[in-house]
Each structure stands twice: as structure tokens, then as C-alpha cells.
């Protein structure tokens, strides 16, 4: 038995689960559960009302069904909407009070929560099932006036900021999953960078789904005030289970005048086993608003996990001269499915956007790039460049490109390019001739194919991502 489990873990090394006592809300989605969540987090009245408003909309909204990967109907009444380690009923004041089992879990994941042990200065906010367990390097950040904490804490300590910005990019009148998240979100990260401050270290959140039958609904809110800069990283893992688990997070970014936000994701949720059993449904809404002049938002994502990935990190370029960027690598293997891309909505003058998307599909998987570039009539002198390349391995998989291009402004330019190909025999032959075996050769070529995107990642993440690319494709050649 043990051996069998070990064998399983070879494929997905984060697939273990932690045996920890959990404190859960009753199963199901109803007003009482929302009140329960709000109550346990001691939320102010306005937030509960906001949640209930969202919930009332969820009741009448229909789940969208236009996406390419179809999935069996989710029974929303059969999920736990809140799950927390029992030791968290009273939030521990410092890391010393933290359940050792939790610390061990994060050490296994390679995320030491202990500050002294950190080699490189990355401040981490770790989210375990529904709650944020620890945030590191708080003091250094507070000195600069940077607020980096869990969103529940921010609701208590900085209610004005939260009230002002929460829902300003993803309102409760949005699509089904985003609205559901607004109703039941449990925790997540909150970042506020004050005017003129350049955040001295990478901020990072680590998401972990542990309990079974839970849906993870976290909410991240990042505000970069005038002239500030922040780079933010997000990583995710989950144990291996035969069931499908839902992850429907909302991420809102707001960049004011001259501010820049760089948001990087390495998504490594459990993708399901070789036959497509189990795995996470990753239905995330990520949207950034370039609100001020000369602001910039840049999304970088490496998507290797999840049974189904369905997300479109977007930029609304409202401020004049604002810039939106999207760099993405999506890899699907076995029976994974992905429908991902971006939306660039140009509203301000002289706005620029750039989309580089690389898709790799192998095995029986299916990958879709779906993107929208919309230049409104008022957005003159704007430009967009889009490049989406797909690589196919084998003839049981699929790669699709569905770009929507809308140009309503005569002074603006849109250029779009897409190619689909396979790794050529010449390339493979060349590498093999020089002593690489076929898997190493594929890994090398794929890394070259992805280089443009990998370069955008912060150093530590780039190394991890590069390895991940190799692992995800293991067994897909030959």
C-alpha cells in the first residue's frame, strides 16, 4: 500500500495530504453558510450584505457553458465552503504557536515559513484550504508602509481600503464563478503599496487545497498606489484525490498613476491521474485595471496543473499611456484540458498591449487559446501585438486558437500571429546526435520554445518553472 502511494507520488510530488483536524462549515451553499463564514471572520455588516447580494445573483445566474472543455455538472450543495485547521479557531499570534504539522506541510512543499531559513527575501502568505496560515517578513514590509496580509486581516485593520477597492474590478454583477466567489470567498492576500514605494522583495502567496470535498474560493486584492512597484508571485498545489475539486478564485489588481504590478503564477494543481481521474477544476477570474496614467500590469503564467484550466487574466487599459502584458505557457498532458488566454481592453489613449502565448499539448489533452483584443473608438494611437504558438505532440491531442479581434479606432494597430507545429525530426535528431536522449532533447526544445515567457519570471520561479515544464511532459514522447 505504502509502496503504491510512493509510486503515485513520483508523478506528482505534491500529491500527499496532511492529516490535520479540520473545522468546517456545514456542507452546502445557502445564506446560513455565508453568514457563518462572515461571522467566524468577524466581518463588518457591509461585507455580509455585499456577500448576500452576490449570493442572490448567483441564485438566478446560469453557469456558462461555451467553453471547450466540458465537465460534469458540479453539485454546489455538496461542497464545504469553509475549512480551516482546527488549531485556527483562535488565530495563532506568531509562527511559534503554529501547528507543527502545518509547518511540516509547507516545508515539504519547499515553502519554509520560518523567516530565518529563507535564503532569498521573498515574503510569503500561505493559504491552507480556506484560511491564510502565515505571512512572513511582515516587519521589513511595515517599515516601508507596505501592507501585506491576509484579506481577512485587511478587512479588520484597513476596512477603508478594502471597501474602496474590493469589487471595483470584478464587481458582484460579473459572471457565475466570479459572483460565487464574491459570495463565499474565505481568505486570500491583500497588498497595498503606498505612493512612490518600490517593494523591496517579491511578495508571494502559496495556495494549498488539503481537505477533501472543499472548494477553494480565495480573493486577492492588490493595489499599487501612485508611482509604486510590486512583483507578486502565486503558487498552487493540492493532494491527489480521485474526486474533482473546484478552485474558483478572484484576483483583482489596481494600478494607479505611474504604478506597475507584475503578477506571476506557477500553477501546479494536481492534474488528475493518467486516465484523467481526479484533479482540480481551476476556474479563476483574474483581472487587472490600469486605472491611472502611465500604469502597467503584466501577467505571467505557467500552467501545468489542473484537470481543467479555464481562465483569462485580463487587463483593462483605462489610463492614458497604460501598458498591459500577458505572457503564458500552458502545458497539458494525459487527459488535461485547458481553455486559457487573455483579454486586452483598450479604453485610454496611447495604450499598448502585448500577448505572448505558448501552448504545448501532449497525450490525450486538449488546449485552447482564447483571447480578445478590443480597441475602443476613443483609444487612439493604441497598439496590440499578439503571438500565440502551439506545439503538438502526438495525434491524440488538440490545439486550438480562437482570437477575437475588434478594432474600432483608425489610428490604432493590431497585429496577430499564430502558428501550430510539432517538434521537427531535424531538431530532435540534432540534439540526439549530440548525446541527449529523446526526453532530454524534447525538454530542451520545449524550454527553448517557452523561453520568451520563462524570461519574464523572477529568477527563483524561472528555475522551478523550467523544471516543471520538463516534468509535465515526461512520458509524452517515444
Amino acid at each position: 500500500m505504502r509502496e503504491k502511494e510512493l509510486e503515485k507520488l513520483k508523478d506528482y510530488k505534491y500529491g500527499f495530504s496532511t492529516d490535520i483536524e479540520n473545522f468546517k462549515a456545514p456542507k452546502g451553499l445557502n445564506e446560513d453558510v455565508i453568514k457563518f463564514i462572515s461571522n467566524i471572520k468577524k466581518e463588518p455588516k457591509w461585507l455580509l450584505e455585499w456577500r448576500l447580494k452576490a449570493y442572490n445573483r448567483v441564485k438566478v445566474l446560469k453557469e456558462p457553458d461555451w467553453q471547450k472543455p466540458k465537465y460534469p455538472k458540479i453539485d454546489y450543495q455538496d461542497l464545504y465552503y469553509y475549512s480551516a485547521p482546527k488549531s485556527f479557531k483562535e488565530k495563532p499570534k506568531s509562527l511559534d504557536e503554529l501547528d507543527p504539522k502545518l509547518i511540516e506541510t509547507y516545508n515539504k512543499l519547499g515553502i519554509p515559513l520560518n523567516e530565518q531559513k529563507r535564503l532569498n527575501g521573498i515574503a510569503v502568505d500561505a493559504v491552507f484550504d480556506s484560511v491564510s496560515v502565515a505571512t512572513t517578513f511582515k516587519d521589513t514590509l511595515t517599515e516601508k508602509g507596505i501592507i501585506f496580509c491576509s484579506i481577512s486581516e485587511a478587512i479588520q485593520k484597513h476596512p477603508d481600503l478594502v471597501k474602496k477597492y474590493l469589487g471595483s474590478v470584478i464587481p458582484i454583477t460579473d459572471h457565475y464563478f466570479a459572483t460565487l466567489n464574491s459570495a463565499v470567498f474565505t481568505d486570500g492576500s491583500f497588498v497595498y503599496i503606498p505612493p512612490g514605494v518600490r517593494c523591496p522583495m517579491e511578495l508571494s502567496t502559496y495556495f494549498r487545497i488539503n481537505a477533501s470535498d472543499t472548494g477553494q474560493f480565495e480573493r486577492t486584492l492588490i493595489i499599487a498606489d501612485k508611482g509604486s512597484y510590486v512583483s507578486y508571485l502565486e503558487g498552487c498545489t493540492a493532494p491527489m484525490r480521485d474526486e474533482n475539486q473546484l478552485h474558483a478564485a478572484n484576483v483583482e489588481l489596481i494600478a494607479l498613476d505611474d504604478a506597475e504590478i507584475k503578477y506571476s503564477t506557477v500553477q501546479n494543481w494536481y492534474p488528475g491521474d493518467k486516465d484523467g481521474k481526479g484533479g482540480i477544476y481551476n476556474f479563476v477570474t483574474k483581472r487587472g485595471l490600469c486605472k491611472g496614467k502611465n500604469s502597467k500590469i503584466s501577467w505571467t503564467q505557467v500552467e501545468t496543473g489542473s484537470a481543467i484550466t479555464w481562465k483569462y487574466p485580463s487587463c483593462i487599459l483605462q489610463g492614458d499611456n497604460s501598458v498591459g502584458e500577458f505572457y503564458s505557457i500552458a502545458i497539458t498532458n494525459n487527459h488535461q484540458k485547458a481553455d486559457t488566454g487573455t483579454k486586452m481592453i483598450h479604453l485610454g489613449k496611447n495604450t499598448k498591449s502585448k500577448i505572448i502565448s505558448k501552448g504545448i499539448s501532449a497525450g490525450f489533452s486538449d488546449m485552447t487559446y482564447r483571447g480578445l483584443v478590443d480597441i475602443s473608438p476613443k483609444s487612439s494611437n493604441s497598439s496590440n501585438y499578439t503571438q500565440c504558438d502551439s506545439l503538438l505532440m502526438g495525434n491524440k491531442c488538440g490545439a486550438h486558437t480562437i482570437p477575437y479581434i475588434k478594432n474600432k479606432n483608425a489610428n490604432s494597430n493590431i497585429a496577430h500571429e499564430a502558428t501550430t507545429s510539432k517538434i521537427s525530426d531535424e531538431q530532435l535528431h540534432y540534439c540526439q546526435q549530440r548525446g541527449l536522449n529523446s526526453e532530454e532533447a524534447v525538454s530542451l526544445i520545449v524550454n527553448g520554445f517557452c523561453k520568451e515567457v520563462l524570461q519574464q519570471l523572477p529568477m527563483e520561479f524561472a528555475v522551478e518553472a523550467q523544471k516543471l515544464v520538463g516534468i509535465s511532459l515526461e512520458g509524452s514522447v517515444g
Partner: protein
């Protein structure tokens, strides 16, 4: 839809139909009345909501077409530049068939050839066509015969005839080693009709089809043309659209490459002004190995006009060594115009070469400056650049006399 029911019954009565055909028409009528006209909620009609457009331009539509009493053909509409075979339609009714320059034994032109089994799902406009087109014709080109002259189909309307919805349908069958050059010429000063034309092509081994659709002359009709092409091995289809004259036009092409080494070429020009709204939608299905498709669509948009290009390349998992290419470019001449594109790839085979590109923007000011500094006026410089931009597409036409004809019609000098 009230109109439709009564008008449909009236139409049925006027035609002598077999029981089988009545059943076929009834079925299609039922399909159409349950779906109605497509609207923006249908993915394929996202950019061109024909339901709204018909409401806005025509209002409540009548579906009944008065029967033509021995009609006189206005000689003005005929093209004199090249010798050709003719089919002349007036309000969807065929009034002249002329294949005088061809070998009589080698071609057949037949009446009432409804292909009753064939069904194209999810297209209520084809249902409408099947229900109401009063006759369904078939042109058969026999083995090893190449038509000597091009065939020009004139699509005209007569304002004396009351009709608002005009449907016509022709099936073409090209047997082995045969070839056909087909020109569709839209020439009418119609008064706000909705014209729905449906062609079925079946291309046998080694056959060649060249179809040029010319909508050059100003008219205020709403037009929908559907080409359904099935290609066997080694066959070639070339489709060219000059999309300019009508108020609204949507040209759709659905092409199955079923035989190895078959290829399909789709080229199109949009040259629009005055709030016109035109669309080309192409879906090419690569179903077997070693097939090729090429699409090139260019737009020049002025004065509140809008063009839409939706192209899709589908590659089946069996269709290795596919070569697929799509390119769409647009020049937005002034502020009020809009270009929408959705170039799609759906690929299930790995050893393929597929790419698409799309670019849109304004006229290049630097090029205008260059030409003006060499003595051209602003207007001349602009015209030169636009014509140069569009002529690339016209030059894709493989038939020299027709290329010349189209350049003439469009008003391009021969030096382009």
C-alpha cells in the same frame, strides 16, 4: 413568423411538388420557424446580427414571391466584355439558360433536384432556403469536360415584382477531370430585399472549380450566400469575393477536403463605405492527409462601414501533413469604421503546418509622405496605396480574362 406560415403555404400551393419534396419543405419550414433568423447570441453571428439588421433595414419581412409572367430581360445588365454562358435569375426565378457555346452532350442542366437527404445542421437560413426556393437546379459537368467559356450567373431583381425574401439554390456536380469557371454577378437596383442563395458543389477527382462572386454595384439589399463544397482527391477549388455593393452581405463557405491532395483557396476583398456591413466566414475542414488551404482577405473601410472576417481551419487527427494558412488585413481609413476578426485554428493532428495572421490599422503616413514628396497629391497617394493593397488579392485570381474583367469592373488600371 406569422407572415412566414401563410407565405410558405401560398408558395407550396403554387408549385407542383412530389410528396417527398413537400415533406422535405415542411420539415425545413418547421425548423426555420422554430429557430427564426440567427442573432448575436449565435456564435457564428456574433459580429453580424442579421435578425436586427433585417428589422432595421426592411422591417417585417414578406416571404412570398410573385410568379414572374414571361419576363423581358433588360439587355443592359449583360456583360459584353467576355463571351460566356448565362443563367439569369430575376427575383430568384430562372428566366434564361444559355449554354450555346458548349458541347450539349457533356453538360446537363436539370430542374427540381432537391438533394433531400443532405442536411446542414444549425443553419436556419439554409432551412429557409430549402423551404422556399421554388426550384432547385443542378448543373452536371460530365467526365473529362472542361467548359470552354465561363458561366456567368446574373442575380437580378425587378422592382415591379413584389418580393422581399428571395431564395435560390443550385447544385453543381463536377465529374472526374472536369472544370468549371463560375462568375456570380450581382446586378440589381433592388429595393430592400433579403436574398438568400445556397450553392452545393461536389468536386470529383481531379476536377477544378473557380468561383468568382462579384458584388460591385451599389444596391440596398441584404444578402446571404452559402457555398457548401465537398472535394475529392486532387480537386482544386478557388473562391474569390469582391464584397462592395450591398448594404449588408455575408458570404459563407464551408469546405470539406475529403480526398488527398485536394486544395481550397479563398480570397476576398472588402471595399466598403456608407455604413455598409459585410462579412466573410470560411470554414475549411481538413479531413485527410496532404491537403492544403489558403485564405487571404483584405478590407478597406470608410465612412461608418464595418467588415468581419471569421475564418476557421479544422484539422482532423487523420489529416497529417496539412498545410493551412490564413491572413486578414484591414485598413481603417477613418475614425468611424470597425474591423472585427476571428481567425480560428482547431487542430487535432501534430504533423501540420498551420498559421494565421491578422493585422489592422490606418494608412501608413510615412508611405503617403514618401509619395507626396515625389509629387503626388494626397488623394493620389492614398488611392495608390489602397489600390496596391487590394490588388494583391485580385492578383491571386488564376484565370487571366476574369482577372482582367474584375480589375475593369473595380476600376483598376491594367498596370496594377
Amino acid at each position: 413568423m406569422e407572415n412566414f406560415k401563410t407565405d410558405f403555404e401560398k408558395t407550396l400551393k403554387n408549385n407542383n411538388l412530389s410528396e417527398k419534396e413537400i415533406a422535405f419543405k415542411n420539415f425545413n419550414a418547421k425548423e426555420f420557424s422554430s429557430h427564426g433568423f440567427p442573432n448575436r447570441k449565435d456564435e457564428d453571428w456574433k459580429f453580424s446580427d442579421i435578425n436586427q439588421i433585417i428589422k432595421k433595414e426592411i422591417g417585417e419581412l414578406n416571404f412570398y414571391t410573385e410568379q414572374l409572367k414571361k419576363g423581358e430581360i433588360n439587355k443592359d445588365i449583360l456583360l459584353n466584355e467576355i463571351e460566356h454562358n448565362k443563367l439569369i435569375f430575376i427575383n430568384g426565378q430562372l428566366v434564361q439558360i444559355d449554354f450555346n457555346s458548349e458541347d450539349k452532350g457533356k453538360i446537363e442542366f436539370l430542374d427540381n433536384q432537391n438533394n433531400i437527404d443532405e442536411q446542414l445542421a444549425d443553419n436556419s437560413l439554409i432551412n429557409l432556403n430549402n423551404a422556399l426556393s421554388n426550384k432547385s437546379y443542378k448543373l452536371l459537368v460530365k467526365k473529362n469536360y472542361q467548359l470552354k467559356k465561363p458561366l456567368i450567373i446574373y442575380h437580378t431583381t425587378k422592382s415591379e415584382l413584389t418580393s422581399q425574401n428571395i431564395n435560390s439554390k443550385i447544385n453543381f456536380e463536377l465529374e472526374e477531370n472536369s472544370s468549371l469557371k463560375l462568375v456570380d454577378l450581382v446586378k440589381d437596383k433592388g429595393n430592400k430585399n433579403f436574398i438568400n442563395i445556397f450553392y452545393n458543389f461536389s468536386l470529383e477527382k481531379n476536377s477544378i472549380l473557380k468561383n468568382y462572386k462579384i458584388d460591385q454595384f451599389e444596391n440596398d439589399n441584404i444578402r446571404y450566400m452559402f457555398n457548401n463544397i465537398k472535394q475529392s482527391s486532387n480537386s482544386v477549388s478557388e473562391t474569390f469575393y469582391l464584397s462592395k455593393g450591398s448594404t449588408f452581405s455575408k458570404n459563407e463557405i464551408f469546405c470539406d477536403l475529403k480526398g488527398e491532395h485536394s486544395s481550397a483557396f479563398v480570397n476576398g476583398i472588402f471595399s466598403l463605405n456608407k455604413s455598409k456591413h459585410h462579412e466573410i466566414k470560411a470554414k475549411i475542414n481538413h479531413l485527410v492527409e496532404n491537403t492544403k488551404s489558403y485564405q487571404l482577405v483584405k478590407s478597406v473601410l470608410e465612412n461608418k462601414s464595418r467588415s468581419v472576417y471569421q475564418g476557421k481551419i479544422y484539422v482532423d487527427s487523420k489529416a497529417q501533413k496539412t498545410d493551412g494558412y490564413q491572413l486578414s488585413k484591414a485598413i481603417l481609413v477613418d475614425e468611424t469604421t470597425e474591423f472585427n476578426a476571428k481567425p480560428e485554428l482547431e487542430i487535432y493532428a501534430d504533423d501540420v503546418k498551420c498559421s494565421h495572421g491578422s493585422a489592422s490599422g490606418s494608412l501608413d503616413e510615412n508611405s503617403i509622405f514618401y509619395l507626396m514628396s515625389r509629387g503626388l497629391s494626397y488623394k493620389e497617394a492614398r488611392e495608390l496605396l489602397i489600390n496596391g493593397f487590394l490588388v494583391e488579392v485580385i492578383n491571386q485570381i488564376t484565370d487571366e480574362p476574369i482577372k482582367k474583367l474584375i480589375k475593369n469592373l473595380y476600376g483598376l488600371k491594367n498596370e496594377y
